[in-house]
């Protein structure tokens, strides 16, 4: 029952990077068939991502009102975040419409090289902006860009490509594991040099999960995990401020004014929120008590203003993203292993980073300074996260 019109539309869709589902391809039924039928997973991911982003906008506005204390403009963080959010939406729109195969065909290597170059650039004094002793940003004409975010996306795509292209060899050290580990190690070293151990750990963990999913040998994985953990612990122990954070995490009350300050203040905000919260805008912690209230610790403000209900809701949203992302990967694992692995990688990235951030806020993990995806104020990380999310959406759109 194919009509020329339907043929043409399919051709158009294909040229735009769209792929009609098999059902549509075989059973296009007049006007209704003009709209693609997306899987509920796609809809769920769209709603979750968009919802979290919007909610992040509101919470950034609320959490940054403490800026007014120093005579700052209470709207400035919100204005910047709105612009970045708009940019992020554009990016997500683009990536969600871009055929994800393009990533492995055309973009994988340039992206990897670009991200690697920027990670090197950020270490160059004068180019990299140093904030609080860490060079994590590249400044270009008033705008700042955090290359570590881009590095995550680049690495995920590249590793997924490597793992699927040479699937048989994923258990082979020479052909697959060695380049992957070397590239990941190089990125990790660059990140640690910034220094940004938190992101390095997240990157390594994401690569680890992708390799695991790709079918790497358990023995290799155990060795990798063991070596990486030892390295991370050693690094954490060598830098005094990291060691302090580690110790403070074990007992923040030991020194609630210095090393345990952020953890205790986050706890104060959480405890103040109680079950239903103090209400939007009514957080006390943001008034100079909780540092980085609108960035690293925005989750504490959320849980203070909306209580354990709000806190669990946000946590639940990330769990849902995880579940949806993994389901997408599950559905596509036979049809498109690359897409499946990319979905696993992006999902793991977002969820893991959220958990690491939330874990620090609730005192379950040491403070590493990673942001809460979609919610924390921070321009480039939001844009890149949303762009990566767009890739996930594009992959999800192929799920039946």
């Amino acid at each position: 029952m194919k009509t020329p019109l339907a043929e043409r539309r399919r051709a158009q869709q294909a040229s735009r990077g769209r792929h009609p589902t098999s059902r549509q391809a075989t059973t296009g039924r007049g006007p209704r068939a003009r709209r693609r039928r997306y899987s509920p997973l796609f809809g769920l991911l769209v709603i979750l991502g968009f919802g979290l982003g919007l909610y992040g906008l509101v919470m950034v506005l609320s959490a940054s009102s403490g800026d007014a204390l120093d005579g700052g403009d209470p709207w400035s963080a919100f204005r910047r975040q709105s612009l970045w959010f708009a940019a992020g939406l554009m990016a997500a729109l683009c990536t969600s419409r871009l055929d994800h195969r393009l990533w492995r065909e055309r973009l994988s290597i340039p992206l990897l090289l670009g991200a690697g170059a920027m990670l090197v650039l950020v270490l160059v004094p004068g180019v990299g902006l140093s904030v609080n002793g860490a060079s994590r940003w590249i400044g270009v004409g008033g705008f700042t860009f955090q290359p570590s975010e881009l590095a995550k996306l680049a690495l995920i795509v590249w590793v997924a490509d490597m793992a699927t292209r040479r699937y048989r060899d994923v258990t082979c050290i020479n052909s697959t594991l060695a380049p992957i580990l070397m590239m990941t190690g190089a990125f990790a070293v660059l990140l640690i040099l910034e220094p940004d151990l938190g992101t390095a750990i997240v990157v390594c963990a994401v690569v680890f999960v992708v390799l695991y999913m790709a079918g790497a040998a358990l023995s290799h994985l155990w060795i990798m995990a063991g070596v990486a953990s030892c390295l991370a612990l050693t690094l954490a122990w060598l830098a005094p401020y990291r060691r302090e954070r580690l110790l403070a995490f074990s007992d923040p009350w030991e020194d609630p004014l210095e090393s345990g300050y952020q953890t205790v203040q986050a706890g104060v905000a959480l405890a103040n929120g109680g079950i239903s919260g103090v209400g939007l805008g009514a957080s006390r912690g943001k008034w100079g008590f909780l540092p980085e209230a609108h960035t690293d610790f925005i989750y504490a403000i959320i849980a203070e203003e909306f209580g354990v209900i709000g806190g669990l809701t946000v946590l639940g949203a990330f769990v849902l993203i995880g579940a949806a992302g993994f389901l997408v990967a599950h559905r596509l694992r036979q049809r498109d292993p690359f897409a499946s692995l990319v979905a696993v990688g992006i999902t793991t990235w977002i969820v893991l980073q959220a958990f690491v951030n939330i874990g620090a806020v609730v005192g379950a993990l040491p403070i590493t300074g990673v942001t809460l995806p979609f919610l924390s104020a921070g321009g480039s990380s939001l844009v890149v996260t949303m762009a990566a999310y767009g890739v996930l959406l594009n992959i999800a759109s192929h799920v039946d």
Partner: protein, 631 residues
């Protein structure tokens, strides 16, 4: 099922489903752990964090409690709190301290440099001017400078003026704490419980916009109800100021007591300042000044004699005009041949020798006990701040001349209030009602709570008191106290002209001059005494330096006024017509005072017996050239 056509289509097994499951389970476990931790802090065990947070952001601003009022015996206001304005600043908000200081200085009347220093303080709060008046506050408000605040603060106001009764009422400081007088004695009654304004603040001290405010209202202090009579107090001060001015005295003290219950109706101290202004003093010398009373203490000696049954009113004895005891010679004020005088005669003439002879019969212990029983040598029940106990040595410490000296009121020190208390005891039929200034407290709802007051205590028998009253009435009727007499009422009282001990020891100053303290103590109406008055004039000058001439007229003027003010009817038949005349002339009380002055003029014409003096230690006060005539 069509799959996506791709040149890189995987050539083998796809990503592992079990591994995906393991990852998903791991994620779920991690999420559960985070949720557990979140619930633990937010719901299960939030207390430690919550309290720590409250501790770091909750501040408490004190709301001053209004200080209780001080009321007279009729509920009239003597001292009260009114709202006033205090100018404060938050130096952190002042952009231009110099300009601000320059603007404020002329309004507040403070030096620019001082204000600027306050405005440059590294703090969030500075007082600029406290409890300014409304016009100043208004002008400051008109400037509208950011960072300058006008705070309401209660300030103490005495409607009678700054001088009125100030020695008794005392003062409270800017923070509402009593610092002198009754303000400090009853500070715990008058002071309220400050309220609290609990506010949430940021770590830099700003108010948190969404923060909660909890106000614990201040509880105003209770009012203090005094025994003072507002009008009588005013009149007492007025008369005393006038009289001290007229006599050129250094100062004066008056105590007016209701002898039936010990209520102090008025209590005034007046002093002459260095620039010769005579004003009510800040020191309540009625209780803080112990002085040698002289002859007004003689009735206490006779109280002992009568109480011991050694003599009666008609007991006569031969009295010479001088007597040498050990190394001291005592004299009467005027030379006279040996005369046979009764007790009444001796007191009427204020004979030192007669008094000493009876005291010798009474003995050391008897005299000591008599004075002591009247409360000499210990503070009164008033318990006024810095109240002096008086001085009466134990008999063990007495020398051979102590008895004759103390018998005539030298070598013993009393406060005017102690004298008033002793005379009130005689007036009250021998029963001492402890003097008091405050009756009780009154809370905001008007409920009155009386302060505990000691039970009246019998000091001498009713008959002894009656006999003493008779003797004292004779003193005023025909003796040295004639100037204290007023029409219509019989007055019982005694004059005293005592030497003032000098700083170097003895009674003579560097120039060899003696200084006197003139006093008059008495009560009236004599047949049913209602009020007891003690007048002490410190160092009266010129011809009016005796108790009879310097103190008795004040007694007369005040007693007449007080009796009319308290509506105490005249007692003697003869006086009724005079009293009626006065009343018909005018109902205004000033006219009663005028009548009293007329009576005084008449009294001054009468010759007065002289008051005597004696010297306790040195070569005895026996200089016949030492004149101290009454009148």
């Amino acid at each position: 099922m069509t799959v996506i056509s791709t040149p890189y289509r995987s050539r083998g097994a796809e990503p592992s489903a079990p591994r995906l499951g393991i990852i998903a389970v791991a994620m779920a476990v991690a999420a559960a752990l985070l949720a557990w931790q979140l619930v633990d802090i937010q719901v299960a065990n939030p207390d430690r964090y919550r309290e720590y947070g409250l501790d770091q952001r909750l501040t408490s601003d004190q709301i001053p409690a209004e200080r209780g009022a001080i009321l007279d015996r009729n509920g009239l206001l003597l001292a009260g709190s009114v709202a006033s304005t205090t100018i404060t600043a938050n130096p952190r908000l002042i952009s231009d301290p110099r300009q601000t200081a320059t603007d404020l200085a002329p309004i507040l009347g403070l030096p620019v440099a001082e204000l600027e220093a306050q405005l440059r303080r590294d703090s969030y709060f500075a007082f600029l001017a406290r409890e300014v008046d409304d016009r100043v506050a208004e002008r400051v408000a008109d400037l509208g400078i950011a960072g300058i605040f006008l705070d309401e603060e209660p300030s103490r106001h005495n409607p009678g003026g700054d001088h009125y009764a100030r020695a008794v009422l005392g003062r409270s400081d800017l923070d509402g704490h009593g610092i002198s007088g009754l303000e400090t004695l009853y500070d715990d009654v008058l002071t309220g419980v400050p309220g609290q304004n609990l506010l949430e603040r940021t770590n830099t001290g700003e108010l948190i916009p969404s923060g909660q405010q909890r106000v614990i209202p201040a509880i105003a202090g209770d009012s203090l109800v005094l025994t003072l009579d507002q009008t009588l107090q005013y009149k007492t001060e007025q008369v005393l100021v006038q009289h001290v001015t007229d006599t050129g005295a250094a100062g004066g003290v008056v105590v007016v007591l209701d002898n039936t219950n010990g209520d102090i109706l008025s209590m005034a101290t007046v002093s002459r300042s260095d620039d010769d202004a005579v004003l009510p003093s800040t020191e309540n010398r009625a209780v803080t000044w112990q002085y040698e009373p002289g002859s007004i203490a003689k009735p206490l000696t006779f109280a002992g004699v009568l109480e011991a049954g050694l003599a009666d009113l008609d007991s006569y004895r031969d009295v010479p005009d001088s007597l040498t005891i050990w190394d001291a010679t005592f004299t009467d004020a005027d030379e006279h041949p040996i005369a046979s005088w009764s007790l009444v005669d001796i007191l009427q003439k204020s004979s030192n020798i007669g008094t000493i002879m009876w005291a010798q019969q009474l003995g050391d212990e008897g005299l000591y006990d008599s004075l002591r029983s009247f409360g000499i040598g210990e503070p009164t029940a008033v318990g006024f701040p810095n109240e002096a106990p008086g001085l009466l040595h134990d008999t063990d410490d007495w020398s051979g001349t102590s008895l004759p000296t103390i018998a005539i009121g030298q070598g013993v020190a009393v406060t005017p209030l102690q004298m008033a208390q002793a005379y009130a005891t005689i007036a009250n039929g021998g029963v001492a009602a402890a003097p008091r200034l405050a009756q009780g407290s009154q809370d905001g709802a008007g409920n009155f709570t009386a302060f505990p007051h000691p039970e009246p205590r019998r000091v001498i028998s009713e008959s002894t008191a009656g006999k003493l009253t008779e003797m004292l009435t004779a003193v005023v009727a025909e003796g040295t106290g004639i100037n204290a007499a007023i029409p219509g009422y019989d007055t019982a009282g005694k004059t005293g002209t005592a030497w003032k001990p000098q700083p170097g020891g003895g009674y003579e100053d560097e120039a060899g001059e003696r200084h006197f303290v003139a006093s008059f103590a008495g009560f009236l109406p004599a047949d049913d005494p209602a009020i007891t008055i003690v007048v002490v004039i410190d160092e009266p000058s010129g011809t009016r330096e005796s108790g009879g001439s310097a103190a008795a007229p004040v007694f007369a003027e005040l007693s007449l006024y007080a009796l009319r003010h308290l509506r105490i009817p005249p007692s003697t038949e003869t006086a009724v017509s005079e009293q009626e005349n006065v009343r018909s002339e005018s109902l205004v009380e000033q006219d009663a005072a005028a009548a009293a002055r007329e009576a005084l003029a008449a009294g001054e014409a009468t010759d007065d017996a002289a008051d005597g003096h004696a010297h306790p230690e040195a070569e005895a006060g026996v200089d016949p050239a030492d004149p101290a005539p009454d009148g």
